[in-house]
């Protein structure tokens, strides 16, 4: 897998490293660059801003194009969505499923990634990574059959299992590049000092990989939080997650744009706040394995 050294990893994390020492070219290029960067930021942020604005408007104001930006904000949509539609329950469901599936996937995935990295078990790794390639629908029909016979559809267990299926390959992939970059010598010297190999893993390697596990864990949480297809089929009325709840919202209230945008904002805000506080982990996770030659 990846050949990132410790130094490189930490260099990549702050996305933009101050490394250029030379002047940046002509004045015209500088102007162009500033304009282009502003355009990029606008393109990425403006739609979300529009969603937020609409969630603060009444439906009358949404239909009035003269009130695109200037209007009297109201929190009525949020009050409606959160109180009448049980969104607190859905928020809890999403959180619980994401949290438990991430935790269990870390327990299974971290030792596996360690073994696969140390003993270069590339074929075994491929088995786990296959899960990322297979279209989820092809697994859902058999899962649905088995789990509904076991009377598990609609329970949390089956949702957690299906989300672990998404999380585990991600965690193995990220942790393998991470372990590849940890120097072997540390463990070896710990074993010379009398630790067993598993002891060395527990007392030396694991504490050193906390950053890697944070990266893998956060990304897995985000992917689970955002997952739609598995929850659409496998969740029940009591275990419905937020993305499915929003989707349902459309079918019976497709005209209530304000409410819909409030619901969409409610699902997006928590994950964005988490992302903002953990940026460097997300970036290093998304780019894991990218720079291998």
């Amino acid at each position: 897998m990846t050949v990132l050294t410790e130094n490189q990893t930490s260099e990549l994390q702050p996305l933009l490293v101050r490394r250029a020492k030379k002047p940046l070219g002509t004045r015209a290029y500088k102007v162009f660059r500033v304009a282009a960067l502003i355009a990029v930021v606008l393109f990425l942020v403006a739609p979300l801003f529009w969603m937020l604005l609409a969630s603060l408007k009444t439906n009358v104001d949404i239909y009035d194009t003269a009130k695109s930006f200037i209007f009297r904000p109201t929190f009525e949509n949020y009050a409606n969505v959160l109180q009448r539609n049980n969104y607190f329950v859905f928020i809890f469901n999403s959180f619980w499923v994401a949290f438990v599936s991430t935790a269990l996937s870390l327990v299974l995935g971290v030792p596996a990634a360690y073994a696969m990295s140390r003993f270069t078990m590339h074929r075994s790794a491929l088995v786990v990574l296959m899960a990322r390639v297979i279209p989820g629908v092809s697994l859902l029909v058999p899962w649905y059959y088995v789990f509904s016979n076991l009377k598990m559809v609609g329970g949390f267990e089956v949702l957690i299992l299906s989300h672990m299926f998404v999380a585990l390959p991600l965690i193995v992939y990220i942790m393998m590049s991470y372990f590849d970059s940890l120097p072997l010598e540390l463990e070896e010297s710990a074993q010379v000092d009398g630790l067993t190999p598993i002891g060395a893993f527990q007392r030396i390697t694991l504490p050193l990989s906390v950053a890697g596990m944070a990266t893998a864990g956060i990304l897995s949480f985000i992917f689970s939080w955002n997952n739609f297809m598995f929850a659409l089929v496998l969740s029940g009325s009591k275990t419905k997650t937020l993305p499915v709840a929003i989707f349902d919202f459309v079918s019976y209230a497709s005209i209530d744009w304000g409410g819909l945008m409030a619901a969409a904002t409610v699902v997006t805000i928590p994950i964005m706040i988490i992302a903002l506080f953990t940026q460097k982990y997300i970036v290093s996770g998304m780019t894991a394995g990218a720079t291998k030659g």
Partner: protein
């Protein structure tokens, strides 16, 4: 690595049961560590895949529990001769993936180059790049539905401001697929940017500097130095993004619903297979579609991996 030594042998005590276990565990740690994860994924994959393969040879429909009859390759014949739904879906899947990938890689490379050298306010750009990546796809779909609404959407307000007539966007038969590609580009270009930026940052400066000394201009340096050096990273980005783009579901289903819209205008293979399975309960047929879909994915991955090996040599 040093050979595993048990604590018992070192301290000279008679080995207790616990020591024996730890001895055994240490000797077999390779599989002790790897097996649980592999078993978990294996059980959840291999059995369903085998079953999908089996179902694709039966006339299973209505209820998964219903008695089914073995009909050989009939489903495959039906699917492969289906020019109404299947082949258009294949076309849309490839169009969606191809166009989205080209846009994402081209835009991503441009943005990554812009961000390569340090500048003031990079923190803000970094935040902007992360936002689409972590936004929930279903919510993103809903957001674009409002923006692209033909009557009240902001997209048409913008067009009106520059004097272009209103477009139907998502609701148009010809424009819907393009509009969803646009959404995919919005959401996933940032990931390509991150990957390419990581690649750019790890490039060594010498070749670029040498070319600069020789008087190469910015374009020459990019096309003859940076781009060739970046090819392996570009292919990693295409591979990672391509797998997901082929399987796109959330945004398409969230914006257009069952069957990819009333004229199936955004029905890709994944949406088609999902609809056959869960909206219309045609399990046999959908399994055949899925097996074919799976073969397309594996095929394109294999091609790309070959290409990557050729490039990184």
């Amino acid at each position: 690595m040093t050979s595993p030594r048990s604590a018992a042998r070192k301290s000279g005590r008679a080995p207790s049961g616990r020591d024996k276990f730890s001895d055994w565990a240490n000797r077999h740690r390779k599989w002790l560590f790897a097996a649980p994860a592999m078993a978990f994924v294996g059980v959840l994959i291999i059995f369903p895949l085998a079953w999908t393969l089996y179902l694709s040879l039966t006339d299973s429909q209505g209820s998964v529990r219903a008695a089914t009859e073995f009909i050989g390759l009939e489903n495959y014949m039906t699917v492969l001769s289906d020019v109404e739904r299947f082949w258009p879906a294949v076309g849309r899947t490839l169009t969606f993936t191809g166009v989205a990938l080209v846009c994402e890689v081209a835009l991503g490379m441009g943005i990554a180059l812009l961000l390569w050298r340090p500048f003031r306010g990079e923190k803000w750009v970094r935040v902007a790049i992360l936002l689409p990546l972590v936004a929930t796809p279903v919510a993103v779909g809903m957001m674009w539905r409002l923006i692209f609404d033909p009557n009240i959407g902001f997209a048409n307000q913008l067009l009106a401001a520059v004097g272009i007539p209103a477009q139907p966007w998502l609701s148009g038969q010809d424009t819907a697929l393009g509009t969803t590609i646009f959404m995919d580009v919005w959401q996933w270009t940032p990931m390509v940017v991150l990957i390419l930026l990581a690649g750019l940052t790890s490039l060594s400066e010498e070749p670029d500097e040498a070319a600069r000394m020789d008087g190469a201009n910015a374009f020459q340096r990019f096309f003859f130095i940076t781009l060739p050096l970046m090819m392996p990273t570009v292919i990693v980005a295409i591979l990672l993004r391509g797998i997901d783009a082929l399987k796109t579901f959330d945004i398409l289903y969230a914006t257009k619903g069952k069957g990819g819209g009333s004229f199936h205008e955004v029905e890709t293979l994944n949406v088609y297979a999902y609809g056959l399975s869960f909206d219309y309960n045609q399990y046999g047929l959908s399994s055949a579609v899925l097996i074919l879909f799976f073969m397309i994915i594996i095929g394109s991955m294999w091609l790309l991996t070959m290409r990557k090996k050729a490039v990184s040599k």
